[in-house]
């Protein structure tokens, strides 16, 4: 809850987002819209084979057409990891700008640039590549067998060579307490295996980049990216360019869901072409290329949980296997967070996590909304329902007894990022959710007959807000902001933070407005690039408002102190006695002393005075590391209707409650929850990104036609989606705010699984729960039942 005395004028108000108009009118300029003088166009040659040695690349025909070509021979022989969020000792480096060997269909082998798109396409088709095709490995179990073709012999970990055995990229075991003892003292122990799929991010915009050479030998880059600073640092490292000669611009992004957390593979390719040719070059990928570029980490999770007859968890054991595809982008971090989300869902006196991440010849996995959380939560929340059933305790009650809440330890990013929970809206979320969905009236699981069967299920979860913690961990986490007051009392906020489309930058402006007492429409968000901003790690881990906003808040406090100092000089009142408040009629912030209200000056007048008196600028730059990683809790309650003849599932209603601390912008927060439902129901029921075993190609071949995501028609009507927010205040966040974005989707698939269990009495352990799987499970369940009768 926001403390009573805090009267907020900007935070908590539903306001239009500042980039909204540009977006809906088409005026916004994304990377693909950028056109520069004398700009050339590039295309990338991608491997048609999942696993092949590259014997020879013949560029002579393409060059004869006037194209500039780039192959492995041209690029610096530096292995890198495209995501530099982990600290250097935890960076697994296994890729080059252009591949030394094709490890998945769609791997970039060579690139061409030419004056027009058509000429580039023609040049691309003139490249000749000779491959020596190797065994395709699509199954992670097979990948680990003795004698399976190695996808890598060695990679680099930090600065050290690391040899890769049995295609295992990384393993992690994390153990706390004595699980044997815990299981021995359990009244009920349940164990199940769960599988989640490698879905495509399906962000609206495919990846692109424009690179311009500068006359001083530097480059300017307009990329699709979630972190301009990380892109700059990696480019500097790969191409040995000093950082002050690399300017990476922030370009509006058409959604990411995590797909641009790394420096996208096309960025260094485009830069390589620019450096070789001296031309300004644009490289935009097609949807098919993009579908072969990244997927969510899949998981096979074997989970065992024990509980006492009073419904208290005793111990847990999780085995996790992830098929990471052809590159290790953040497998180490993935295993860390998988264990961390699990450890933070419910209090486990003893736990053991054993995780393996294995290379295969498939599209590389990378973080996607929730990073390991939807996977872990699907397994845990499914098994929690089963345990509650076995114990005869209401599933919600069972959760309340065991969840990690106020005062508990939360793992925000694996074992090295932990902090104490300071705000907890879980009881409110669960109580209100039950009431809104009509929990007590739900059917007895599996009791229904007839063609259409309904079920109500719930699941809860969270996401972290940022990856900050009291001590440095395996992840980098801090942000910085530069704020200046202009000579008319408006404000420029210069922040490297990326807005994925959720309105993060709008929230930053509201936070600054709130602190400065200036109307939020007087706060501008400046275009950002790496030359003029201080470091921000990346917009991920639901850290935008909490961590990025925290840094802006810190800088705003400092600016406010400077403002009051100058005001004190002008008004002859002690600094501490002054306040700033927005004046609606003036449309300005006004500084005054409540005891002497006639002593007042607008921020604009003061700023102008500072200029005309040559006192100096009112500005501050600050950097902030949050030392907490507060859980942004979410609870889902869904009602489904199954057509048992076809297996089709309709969402009748969804109730989604969020504890995001103080709600910064209610409309956008609701949008996050509705979006989380849409992504979550796709993950739960629809999206099945499968690979052909022999060829290593996507069954959808990279086309939307069969690479299905849910459409509007799958969504319940807006009036059937009930969203609400817990009355909650996070003491460590800006004005009490935490995160929301990833939390919004995390428990969704589990809630569907539990609702389907309620409707059909069948436990689904594999995602997506397609109509076909439902029909097959019902047939199996019925024949099982008949058999039982026969016996």
């Amino acid at each position: 809850m926001v403390p009573e005395q805090q009267q907020l004028h900007s935070i908590g108000q539903a306001t239009w987002r500042r980039d909204g108009q540009a977006k809906v009118t088409g005026a916004e300029e994304y990377v693909s819209d950028i056109t520069l003088p004398r700009m050339w166009h590039a295309r990338v040659l991608r491997s048609p084979y999942a696993h092949a040695r590259i014997v020879h690349v013949d560029t002579s025909y393409a060059e004869a057409l006037g194209a500039v070509c780039l192959t492995h021979a041209d690029i610096p022989k530096i292995r890198y990891n495209e995501r530099i969020v982990s600290t250097p000792p935890h960076l697994y480096r296994d890729r080059y700008v252009l591949a030394d060997k094709a490890r998945h269909v769609g791997e970039a082998i060579a690139a061409v640039a030419a004056p027009t798109e058509a000429a580039a396409e023609q040049a691309l088709r003139a490249l000749r590549v000779e491959y020596e095709v190797l065994e395709t490995i699509t199954d992670p179990e097979v990948a680990m067998w003795d004698g399976t073709e190695p996808i890598y012999t060695n990679v680099q970990l930090g600065d050290q060579e690391l040899s890769i055995e049995h295609n295992i990229a990384v393993q992690r075991t994390i153990e706390l307490g004595d699980i044997e003892h815990g299981f021995a003292n359990s009244a009920v122990i349940l164990e199940r295996e769960f599988a989640t799929s490698r879905i495509y991010h399906a962000q609206m915009e495919t990846k692109g980049v424009v690179c311009r050479p500068e006359s001083d030998g530097g480059i300017t880059v307009w990329p699709t990216a979630q972190s301009i600073h990380n892109v700059r640092q990696l480019l500097g490292e790969i191409y040995s360019l000093p950082l002050h000669k690399i300017n990476v611009k922030r370009v509006p992004i058409g959604g990411t869901f995590g797909s641009s957390i790394q420096m996208n593979s096309v960025i260094p390719i485009c830069v390589g072409l620019t450096l070789k040719s001296g031309k300004t070059i644009k490289l935009v990928t097609t949807r098919e290329e993009d579908m072969y570029d990244h997927v969510r980490y899949p998981s096979r999770i074997r989970l065992k949980l024990g509980a006492t007859k009073d419904g208290l968890l005793t111990a847990g054991h999780m085995h996790a296997l992830s098929d990471i595809g052809a590159h290790n982008t953040q497998a180490f971090a993935f295993l860390s967070v998988l264990s961390g989300w699990w450890a933070s869902l419910y209090k486990l006196p003893a736990m053991k996590f054993e995780g393996k991440a294995v290379y295969t010849n498939k599209t590389p996995s990378c973080a996607m909304q929730g990073f390991g959380n939807p996977q872990a939560t699907f397994a845990v929340e499914s098994l929690m329902d089963d345990l509650a059933d076995a114990l005869g305790i209401d599933p919600v009650e069972f959760r309340l007894r065991n969840y990690v809440g106020l005062g508990g330890t939360f793992w925000g990013q694996g074992p090295s990022v932990q902090s104490i929970v300071l705000s907890d809206g879980v009881p409110e979320l669960l109580e209100k959710g039950m009431e809104k969905i009509g929990w007590p009236g739900r059917p007895v699981s599996g009791s229904q007959t007839g063609r259409y069967r309904r079920g109500i299920g719930m699941a809860r979860g969270f996401h972290t807000s940022g990856a900050g913690a009291p001590k440095p961990g395996e992840v980098i986490d801090y942000s910085g902001a530069f704020i200046k007051v202009n000579e008319d009392g408006t404000v420029d906020v210069v922040h490297a933070l990326m807005d994925h489309g959720g309105g993060t930058l709008d929230a930053i402006a509201k936070i600054v407005a709130e602190e400065l007492g200036i109307p939020s429409d007087r706060i501008g968000i400046s275009p950002a690039d790496t030359l003029t901003t201080v470091y921000d790690v990346v917009t991920h881990a639901t850290r935008g408002v909490y961590a990025g906003g925290g840094a802006a808040h810190k800088a705003a406090r400092k600016v406010k102190a400077i403002l009051l100092d100058y005001a004190s000089r002008v008004l002859g009142i002690e600094t501490n006695a002054l306040v700033i408040e927005p004046d609606e009629t003036l449309g300005q912030g006004v500084i005054y002393c409540p005891s002497f209200p006639e002593r007042r000056i607008t921020v604009g007048a003061l700023a102008k005075l500072c200029q005309t008196n040559s006192w100096g600028s009112i500005a501050a730059v600050e950097s902030l590391r949050q030392v907490n990683c507060p859980p942004a809790y979410v609870a889902y309650f869904v009602e489904v209707e199954v057509d048992t003849e076809t297996g089709s599932v309709r969402t009748v209603r969804a109730v989604i409650g969020s504890d995001c601390g103080t709600v910064v912008n209610p409309d956008l927060a609701v949008g996050q929850l509705e979006g989380g439902l849409s992504k979550g129901l796709g993950y739960a029921l629809v999206e099945d990104n499968s690979w052909e075993q022999e060829s290593g190609r996507l069954l959808s071949k990279g086309f939307w036609v069969d690479g299905k995501t849910p459409a509007m028609s799958e969504s319940p009507l807006l009036e059937d989606i009930d969203t609400f927010f817990a009355d909650s205040y996070e003491p460590s966040g800006p004005f009490g705010a935490k995160g929301i974005g990833e939390a919004a989707t995390n428990p969704c698939a589990a809630a569907y699984g539990n609702a389907l269990y309620n409707a059909l009495g069948i436990r689904f352990t594999e995602l997506p729960i397609t109509p076909e799987r439902i029909v097959a499970s019902m047939v199996a369940a019925e024949s099982g039942a008949t058999k039982a009768v026969l016996v």
Binding site: E121, T646, D706, S713, E714, V775
Partner: protein
């Protein structure tokens, strides 16, 4: 990117046919382009000349003739959806348009393109088979009319000659009143059919007459299940007979397993959808004639 090609906008059927004749096998008719452009982008087809018929008005008409309803090959799916004639007499087709692609595609995709493309999953084919449609084909020399059933030779293969175009689709009248359509895709909108089925029938005092059952996406081409039709034809409608016909329809299909579904699932779904469509068609056939 699209392969380079020449382009001409035809002003009339005669002009289009003339262009086809002039440019020979390198020419391709471009109607809505929602199949052709996709194919070109994938280089499955690389025509050297596109003859665009999308502005030919004489192809965009729907009218009622003597003994038939005539739909121009250039009528778009959105055009079908908005046509009062179709809504009134061919509710089956109106129903299909609701399940066809998305609004953007419906505005471009034509009925002629759907038939000429001859995809096993083309949504308009099963209903048109169930409505006993025939296809009017034209060359510069003249016209011929063939049964839709004969027109479709196999997957992506038709009777069309290189210099010929589909001019119109004719549906004989009176059209059976009992019409029903079922489509199952990987999602409710904008999806290719996993199974689709169309039924039309009349009845006389509960006895099923002129029963026609068209099935899509469960064989190399859309087809009519004569086995299932025979079970219904001339018999009193009952749940039992509908179930038997549905079973026969499933057995007459030859589905494959692909990214959209396994052969077993498709087989089971033919049964479920046909049964459902038979019930719905029968109920509608009971509606009094106007």
């Amino acid at each position: 990117m699209l392969p380079q090609t020449d382009y001409v906008k035809a002003s009339s059927v005669a002009h289009a046919l003339d262009m086809l004749h002039q440019y020979g096998t390198g020419a391709a008719i471009l109607a809505g382009g929602t199949d052709l452009i996709v194919d070109m982008r994938e280089r499955r087809r690389e025509p050297t000349m596109l003859v665009d018929i999308s502005s030919v008005e004489e192809l965009a008409e729907i009218d009622v003739g003597t003994g038939n309803i005539r739909i121009g090959a250039g009528v778009t799916v959105a055009g079908l959806a908005g046509s009062a004639i179709v809504q009134h007499q061919l509710p089956l087709v109106t129903e299909v348009t609701r399940h066809f692609a998305d609004y953007l595609t419906r505005n471009r995709a034509t009925i002629g393109g759907n038939l000429a493309n001859a995809s096993p999953g083309a949504d308009l084919v099963p209903p048109l088979l169930a409505l006993n449609a025939s296809v009017v084909l034209a060359t510069a020399q003249g016209e011929r009319t063939v049964d839709l059933n004969d027109f479709l030779v196999g997957p992506r293969r038709t009777l069309l000659l290189w210099n010929e175009l589909v001019r119109a689709i004719h549906i004989p009248t009176p059209v059976p009143r009992g019409q029903a359509y079922e489509k199952l895709g990987l999602r409710t909108g904008g999806a290719i059919a996993v199974v689709s089925c169309a039924v039309s029938m009349d009845q006389a005092g509960g006895e099923c007459r002129r029963v026609r059952i068209g099935l899509g996406a469960v064989a190399p081409r859309a087809f009519r299940s004569s086995e299932a039709e025979q079970i219904m034809e001339g018999h009193m409608f009952s749940s039992d007979i509908a179930a038997r016909a549905a079973e026969a329809a499933a057995n007459s299909s030859q589905p494959i397993s692909d990214v959209r579904g396994s052969a077993e699932y498709r087989h089971a779904m033919v049964r479920a959808l046909v049964e459902r469509a038979l019930h719905a068609a029968y109920e509608r056939s009971s509606e009094p004639q106007e």
